[in-house]
Amino acid sequence: MIRNYIKIAFRNLNRNKLYSTINIGGFALGLSACILIMFYVTHEKSYDTFHEDSKRIFNVFAKTNISGDVIRMNSLSSVAAKMIEDKDPNVSSAIKIKTEYNPVIIKNPENQSQFSETDLVYTDSNFFNFFSFKLINGNPETALERPYSIILSENLAKKYFGETNPIGRNLSLRIDSTYTFTVTGISEETPSNSSIKTDLIVSASSLNTMKEAFYDMRSQIFQGGSFQTFVKLKDPEKVAPVQRSMNALAVQGHEESTDEYFLTNITDIHLLSRESTNVKYVKIFSLVALLILLLALINYISLSTARAGTRAKEIGVRKMNGASQRSVAVQFFLESAVYVFISFLLAILFTILLKPWFFSLVGIQIDSSFFFDPGFISTMVGILVLTIFIAGLYPAIILSSYQPIETLKGNFGNRKNGAQLRQVFTIFQFVVAVGLIISGIVIHQQINHLRTLDTGLSRTDVLMVPLQNTMDNSQSVFREEVENLPGVRKIAAASLPMYGGTNMYFVDDKNSDGQIPLPILATDHEFIDALDIEWSIPLQDENIATKKNSVIINEATINKLHLNPNPIGEIIVFGNSQYEVVGVVKDFYYDSPNNEIGALAMFVSPSKEFSMDFGEKSSCLFIKFRANANVSSIIKDIEGLYKKYDTENAFEYQFMDEAFDALFRSEMRLAKVLNVFIGLIVLISGMGLFGYATFSAQERKKEIGVRKVLGAKVTQITYLLSVDFLKLVMVAILIASPIAWYVMQQWLQGFENRTVLEWWIFAFAGTGSILIALATISYQSVKAAVANPVKSLRTE
């Protein structure tokens, strides 16, 4: 019997190709989008869970109070890990990790090949005990014991040593000075869901004798520092006592310490990390995945029930031939299972095809082993079973209960039956579609608004080229040669690129004993002019800016430091030095426009002396092109010059406007991903509507036939068939608009600079969805309207 049912299921599938394509194809598409998003979300949530002791491993961070500003410290002094391990018996072990963010030049002395790498990690010898990272080669107990030991990932080992065995061989690392390290192990590649990168691991004991680490290693008390610190607790519930122990340790080291220490479970670090927008993403994407799945499911169920209505006769016949209610129910569940199963297989195929594209879209890498995660698989099976159940439920329970004689007499009213449900479904689908279209437009508008924001300085046609200390004394020669390139209009320099953060100095507060953190920027004297920064109170005389102990501030600084409204001549105390305010510039965004413009102090040096004078390790050139310049050829020229003066570090550059745009990278990515999903949701809704229109036209075939015989025109019939659907879409627009307005208004609150929600956005989304709906249903309506009435009446 079951074989018989499955056979029939396939015959139905084949006989109703349109229906099958819409139903199964649409469901598979939605499902595969949902699977992809679930990969992403599950992956994000799985960060650092692969550590066996992940529940017991905590990251230490501190909140410290600097003249009223609470600052979060993610790193502690070098001795902190050891101290808390010794002090509190709840801590079974502790470890410190320092990451080198600057590029490190690595050479294999045997063949002189040379590479620049980032994210080198210094850590203690219990690293492989503490975490669950694995060594492919080498002894995990001892590999990090001796100073100047280095562990490479498999890929890096291949890169430096080819196919030969790297264990025991030497590498020279140029950090600032150059050191020779011995390879003591090969590690597995870092799992994609690890927040600790383990491609290059170096023994922390090396730091004792490295001069670059002098400041990192200096503090001998429990306080902030350079080391990310982890503790493993015997009992994960003992967070509070350990936090208390740490606060006590801090007071022991420094009596007035008000630092507060906290523990965060390692599995929460990734989603909580401040600069990551992961949490936001994960939430929005989960919602979108849910909506897509829901819409696809609704489509599936709506179409299944619509079709089930047309199968009432079959059920009647079967019952007349001895079928019990139960066997009819079983048949429909089985059919549902067959279709859902096919949808799943198709969805898996779509997923495999779309995976690389989607991952690059959201900008992530996911290990393929992740796809076999038991949690993930069980979720999928859950959805499978649920879908089979829901999709089979209506025909199985409702239809199977009808009296056969009723269904055969044709008294069975398809139209009454489930029609209301389908209307609700259709409205819901279009509410989602219209709502998302509106949101998509608003997000797009907001990004545009930010990108075109007047930030108080001109960022077009400006190239930023960071210079490393490896260029040393040649910096000014390089600068001169770049300036002489045709197409270069102006050139300026600063200690840092724009939009990448600033350095902080502490200055005395005029009104109290406290200190105030003040962002600073060292520039050459061309900087303000080259970037069209406007003066609020200009310099009295051109040369005054470059005078020793002069400082230029922005307007925000006046408030922050409680200076006079005209602060010219006022003194700002930086540590032991006093600086006199000689000019005030209008506020400009030197950081993200999502934050208020902060205070800024600028120290100006003569251009020629800029690099040497300020003694910065590195700096950044700002090269302004002429409007008509051939940019790519100039960049090539600059690169040539760069390579002449810096043989070690790679040439890097970034356009200033692109750097600015990159501040909204997560919003842009959100917009891109949303665009795709909005498209998909519109497609799914359209497919649903198309299917609905198809069945409605079929159901009303007889009515249409009669009306035509009575003289109705094609246009009248088309109108008759379309108007019901359009009403549903209108209702959806009316429901969706205020919801979308409210949600987007909330979203915009997260921005300092926001676009205005204009009425045309809603009008556009509404008209757009009406047009989509019209296009979708008109095919069926016209087809039904022009059909020969005699034919449709005869077949009834």
Binding site: N321, G322, S324, I405
Partner: protein, 221 residues
């Protein structure tokens, strides 16, 4: 075999009863071939459905082989129907997505007849109705007469004691119609009780007895 005593069936329309069956009494003996005639709307289908227990009635008594149907639960009635009665429709009502063979086999599947026995039974009846060559075709590939043959074969496959046929030849031409009637006659001679509703005097003549319905009552000529 069938005994209907003073059957009333009505529907309410505007507060008034409209009688579909009106004080109808009818006795049918085993082995009879009864033709029910009457104009369209006279209640032939209604009567057949009541006899088939597919439809209820409001007043009166109905005994099927001594069993008081009016006192039985729906489930029991369904099972009596499934065990004893084969129903043939004017519109054939074959399952479109099943082949001829599968259509005929369906009632056996629901009765959970073993596979080997099923095959034998279906093969027998295909042979008897001369449609072996059509067994793998789908209903839409058959003529109306052939479809009705399949419908009859399907009704007969469970070897019912009683066949109810509601205008079985209503959609057929006279040649096809005569063939079906001859088949009924043969079946009747083999001992199957048959009740058919028909418009045609010609068809009615195949039966052993004819009654005429008028507004839900048997009219006495």
């Amino acid at each position: 075999m069938i005994q209907l005593d003073h059957i009333y069936k009505w529907v309410k329309s505007g507060g008034r009863r409209v009688f579909l069956l009106n004080d109808l009494s009818l006795h049918i003996e085993k082995g009879e071939f009864l033709s029910i005639m009457g104009t369209s709307g006279s209640g032939k289908s209604t009567l057949l459905n009541v006899v088939a227990m597919l439809d209820g009635f409001d007043e009166g008594e109905y005994y099927f082989e001594g069993e008081a149907i009016h006192d039985l639960k729906a489930k029991k009635r369904t099972s009596i129907f499934n065990e004893n009665i084969g129903f043939i429709f004017q519109a054939y009502h074959l399952l479109d997505e099943l082949t001829v063979y599968e259509n005929i086999e369906t009632p056996l599947l629901y009765k959970k007849v073993k596979s080997s026995e099923r095959k034998a039974l279906v093969a027998d009846i295909l042979d008897k109705f001369n449609i072996v060559g059509k067994k793998d075709l789908f209903p839409h590939q058959l003529s109306g007469g052939q479809q009705q043959l399949v419908g009859i074969a399907r009704a007969l496959i469970i070897k019912p004691k009683l066949i109810l046929a509601d205008e079985p030849t209503g959609n057929l031409n006279s040649t096809q119609s005569d063939e079906i009637m001859k088949l009924f006659k043969e079946l009747n001679e083999e001992g199957v009780t048959i009740i058919q509703a028909t418009h045609s005097e010609n068809n009615a003549a195949y039966g052993s007895r004819t009654i005429k319905l008028l507004d839900g009552s048997i009219s006495k000529n």
